[in-house]
């Protein structure tokens, strides 16, 4: 599935503006961005900055007021087999009679023609995806009998079973343990090494510089876009988050007592 050339962006957003019905302020305004094959991109910004909206726009789940999004030469629209998306909190019926294997198998539906009955090969891909997230032993467990981190892994397996070029993860590290976090980073690296493109919306600024090639700082519009070292600058972060931000592991840390701020707590003002 490797794409080869780095020069041609896999995904381009041009002047993308999203306005939700009933709201006057756009959720996203004039966003122009390119994502190359093999690139790991982190989307950062405060709550309500439009990170989730940007991912949904890439899936084609929100209408664009202006601009266009092109994925591998096609306009963004639901049902693109080359786009796999793991939402922040899956809005699923946890009492539904389905096992982990059944959830992973749903990653194959987008590839199948109606009536979409999965083949043996589809089941094998779903089982392999569960193994990738270390959930092979839990394949026959009911989805509600799993812990939060295990559920997150199963939904990741569903996205992996889709074998899409573009993998979109919305806050995959929220509420998961360190082992799961490490596993998700490993999988992101593997996907990108194989030529895939991965975009992750995250609040965990401390891990961004170690694990991503490109960082996009958004607050309705793109405030900065570039390498982690270029974007994780105090003045840029202050502009996005509305105040000086203390950051652990900061490459150009200026504060003597830099501390890791929990992502959802108010940012430190000095």
């Amino acid at each position: 599935m490797g794409h080869g050339s780095q020069a041609e962006p896999t995904v381009t957003l041009e002047g993308v503006t999203v306005v939700y019905p009933g709201l006057t302020q756009p959720a996203l305004s004039n966003v122009t961005l390119g994502l190359a094959s093999g690139q790991r991109t982190a989307l950062i910004g405060p709550n309500g900055s439009g990170k989730s909206t940007l991912l949904k726009a890439l899936v084609g789940l929100v209408p664009l007021a202006q601009g266009c999004i092109t994925l591998l030469g096609r306009a963004a629209a639901p049902g693109n087999p080359q786009v796999a998306y793991v939402p922040q909190r899956s809005d699923v019926d946890w009492r539904f009679p389905i096992t982990a294997a059944g959830v992973a198998l749903m990653g194959r539906d987008v590839h199948l023609r109606w009536p979409r009955w999965p083949s043996r090969a589809d089941r094998a891909l779903a089982a392999a995806a569960l193994d990738l997230v270390d959930m092979g032993a839990y394949a026959n467990r009911h989805i509600a009998a799993l812990s939060g981190g295990q559920q997150q892994r199963v939904f990741l397996a569903r996205a992996l079973a889709q074998q899409a070029e573009l993998l979109l993860l919305d806050e995959p590290f929220a509420g998961v343990d360190t082992a799961t976090t490490a596993l998700i980073f490993d999988l992101i690296d593997q996907r990108c090494a194989a030529g895939g493109t991965v975009v992750v919306a995250t609040h965990d600024l401390a891990t961004v510089s170690a694990h991503f090639d490109q960082v996009v700082l958004v607050r309705q519009q793109i405030i900065a876009c570039g390498t982690p070292a270029e974007v994780l600058q105090p003045d840029l972060l202050a502009e996005a988050y509305g105040g000086p931000l203390a950051l652990f592991h900061h490459p150009v840390a200026v504060h003597k007592h830099a501390a890791l701020e929990p992502p959802e707590l108010p940012l430190r003002h000095r």
Partner: protein, 293 residues
């Protein structure tokens, strides 16, 4: 001479009612409906559509009355009224000014009232209305048996062909949208199949009890498994079994057949709720006790 009942004698009580054509027809229709209602009932239970099933049953009354007045097939009139009701509910809730449950409440009571008003202008229809309300499975005409068979075929085929779409959209509507499934038409299609099923069910147990055929076997099956295909198979088997047991009970102890079928289903549900291996009340109580020691 020693009289010991042979194998044939022991089967007599099973075979005896089968001498009557009406009983055979009732058995065939009851089993077909048990399978159909059980299977579609799984999606009714999982998607929280029990109210819509009940509403569709009431809303077909005007179709039945108009068909009677025109002298055309009553089942045909019921099917048309059921599908129209499904379309109307969908159209009203799509305006997004009224919630779907409110739209259902408005449409079905309105339609039922229209049926009552029409009936009040027709002389001598009261006997048939009681069949409509309480079912008349022992009085099913051969033609209606074929209609029920056709309904079974259409509904089971529909469920098989849209199985994946129904599965994905029932479990995770967000994922369904992301992979390009159109949820509105899918829901409308399921509601239409439900309308067909309900028309069949009314012949057997009537408007008032048809929701039981949809909900009870499916809810019972859910207590016994964590897999949708198994749940569908179990619900169909339970629906079918309840129809057979209920009909024999109504034959031997002379009770209302529709009520007997539903009551059998209810009793099985209560037994399973108490005794199911993992989710049953007794099993959970034992597990709790084991934990506290």
């Amino acid at each position: 001479m020693c009289i010991r009942p042979g194998k044939e004698a022991r089967l007599d009580w099973l075979l005896d009612p089968l001498r009557y054509d009406f009983f055979v027809r009732a058995l065939v229709v009851g089993m077909l409906l048990g399978v159909t209602c059980g299977a579609i009932g799984c999606f009714v239970v999982l998607r929280g559509m029990a109210f819509i099933g009940d509403a569709l049953a009431h809303a077909i009354l005007p179709g039945v009355v108009i068909a009677y007045l025109l002298g055309v097939s009553i089942v045909g009139g019921a099917v048309i009224a059921g599908v129209l009701t499904a379309l109307l509910i969908s159209a009203i809730s799509r305006t997004e000014q009224v919630r779907e449950d409110a739209a259902i409440g408005i449409v079905f009571t309105g339609a039922f009232a229209l049926g009552i008003v029409l009936i009040s202008r027709v002389q001598g229809y009261m006997r048939d209305l009681s069949h409509f309300l309480f079912g008349n499975i022992l009085g099913i005409a051969p033609g209606d048996m074929y209609v029920t068979a056709a309904i079974t075929l259409v509904v089971l085929l529909g469920l098989a062909l849209w199985y994946r779409e129904l599965l994905v959209s029932s479990f995770d509507p967000g994922h369904a949208r992301a992979i390009g499934l159109r949820l509105g038409p899918l829901h409308l299609g399921l509601t239409t199949l439900l309308a067909l099923t309900v028309v069949g069910g009314i012949q057997a147990v009537g408007v008032v009890l048809v929701a039981a055929l949809l909900v009870t076997p499916a809810a019972t099956a859910r207590l016994l498994t964590d897999r949708l295909p198994v749940m569908i198979g179990l619900a169909a088997a339970l629906g079918c079994g309840a129809a057979v047991i209920g009909l024999y009970a109504s034959y031997y102890i002379a009770i209302a057949s529709g009520g007997a079928v539903v009551l059998t289903s209810t009793l099985i549900f209560v037994l399973v709720l108490l005794l199911a291996p993992q989710r049953g009340v007794v099993a959970r109580w034992n597990a709790q006790r084991a934990q506290s020691f």
